[in-house]
Symmetry: C2
Subunit: 331 residues, 2 copies
């Protein structure tokens, strides 16, 4: 039974290994961290001792003594069904080979929880923090500034970042979609999705561009964070003929509503009674029919870039990974 109370046998320590190998503790430590400093035969003896005892170094102690935790804190709004998972995967793939641990926390779009988990993260002394977006509160921002570690804000391009940035221009994404829809001669616009900072920025770009183009003012429908909510969104948007969804899940949900209403064609975009553009470029969007037009963003690259930003202080501290308008059949 692998339980502390049933087998209180403590994990072997560095000095247990040292005793067995007949060397000092520091030599064992060197075998673990800088083996080339130890003579081959000594090293072999130590390695044998480690294997015999099943020694697993205690990084907690190492971190305290060495002031390097080899960990980064990662804060996302949510990880399930979320494009942020790509970012977490990307940064984790980049960081793991270097021996960094990823401490993952979710804010669930809740400012109070964000502040709580931020200080919980910080109490583990990560060497850097990577987060989606910017801190929701000034308290959170202060906490991060005082921490004295690299902080990467992602999925946005905040004008006054705490430190580094890896993201794209959400406003410009809204602009691009609006321009495309105007060029398509659509008349009656709506934006559906959440009301988090990034979605709001997309909405702003969308709305401003339509206004400048002299189009009718678009409507904005704030929906739950799951796609199913958007299935019935159509009922709230009479007369709409062009919809920008804050993400692909909402877009697909909305299309499902359109299908029920008989407003979906299998033909190309111009035959669609209602144009739908998503954001995220989920694989699903390519597979459904009609295929989903969308803003493709680079979640994985954002994660990898963020990882590189925390590993080096050189080079630009603000990386714009961009986006692309991918036109398929839905709009």
């Amino acid at each position: 039974m692998p339980f502390p109370d049933s087998e209180p046998q403590a994990a072997p320590t560095l000095s247990a290994v040292a005793d067995l190998a007949g060397v000092s503790a520091i030599t064992v430590s060197r075998v673990v961290r800088v083996p080339e400093l130890v003579a081959p035969q000594t090293r072999a003896r130590v390695e044998a001792a480690m294997r015999e005892l099943g020694y697993v170094p205690n990084q907690i102690a190492g971190s305290l003594a060495g002031a390097r935790t080899k960990s980064v804190g990662v804060l996302v709004p949510t990880i399930a069904n979320s494009i942020f998972a790509d970012t977490v995967q990307g940064l984790s793939d980049e960081l793991e080979p270097l021996g960094y641990a990823v401490i993952l926390a979710q804010s669930r779009y809740d400012a109070a929880r964000e502040d709580r988990v931020l200080s919980a993260l910080l109490s583990r002394r990560p060497e850097a923090i990577i987060m989606v977006g910017s801190p929701a509160t000034e308290d959170g921002a202060r906490l991060l500034r005082r921490a004295g570690i690299p902080v990467v804000e992602t999925w946005e391009l905040p004008p006054e970042p705490i430190d580094a940035v890896a993201g794209f221009d959400n406003y410009a994404a809204g602009v691009a979609v609006a321009q495309h829809l105007v060029a398509q001669r659509r008349q009656n616009f709506a934006f559906i999705g959440g009301d988090d900072p990034r979605a709001t920025r997309r909405w702003n770009g969308f709305r401003d561009t339509l206004r400048e183009a002299g189009a009718a003012a678009p409507r904005r429908l704030v929906l739950d964070r799951n796609a199913s909510g958007s299935v019935v969104a159509l009922a709230e948007l009479p007369g709409v003929d062009a919809v920008f969804a804050a993400n692909d899940a909402h877009a697909i949900g909305f299309m499902s509503g359109l299908r029920k209403a008989g407003l979906l064609r299998n033909g190309p975009a111009r035959e669609q009674p209602v144009a739908v553009i998503g954001l995220g470029d989920l694989e699903m969007g390519r597979l459904i029919s009609p295929s989903l037009s969308t803003i493709r963003v680079h979640g994985d690259a954002i994660g990898r870039t963020a990882a590189r930003l925390v590993l080096t202080h050189e080079g630009p501290r603000r990386v714009d990974l961009g986006f692309e308008l991918v036109l398929r059949d839905s709009g």
Copy 2:
């Protein structure tokens, strides 16, 4: 600039706070961990001092001294586009309020990497390990057994688990799908998807049941881990009229291939030239047309249950969260 080199100002320590508040270090420690042991006015003074200095407790030091890291290691094959994200979210939601940190690692379905990250996780002295599946190698299993901490294997029901289990019967899922498809009078069966242990167990249940039913031996097509690979799977499966996909993404990809081939109807299951059953019950499956029949599993509940299993030693150490065959229009 929040960089160590530009502002070498070290983080304030417990005793810095103690000095400022005019108490001993241990009293500050108590204010942080067991405030009710400290007189209200002392507590107030200490809290003021903490605020003034922006004190963030150092959990690394605390863990070393107290032998409680308040962290759990979580190992998943992959987190992007993955139903395992639900499980991570579930356990994280359960664990975070209790002050536990989630250290996340990915194996990417690679046994060597799994062993590496397992020992990296263990070196951080988590209080428990939660992983999808069982260790791929005997080395990994030994590592976990020797660690002397709770280990929860999930998404499966291994006959001889290391410790605890929260999952469902993948074999039975294959059986259920096969029985349904046989009852539908399908003739020509195939299984598509990955070849990881869980997918293989589903395949075994599927194949065995078809064999017992006297049906033609099913084919098995091993595909890449992304849905797009399954779009062209049809070409490899001439004459097939019933497909069980190891997960919904593959199912939807395959349906996309069927659509191109003109083999998808908008009507109910019996009108489909080729029946398709997925696994996972992604939201998308409900939204597409025809809607996807699938095995619903409870990824979130698996995560929450796993979290509870690591928090208590009481009660059953093996929880079967079950699954349900959800019949919609695809098969």
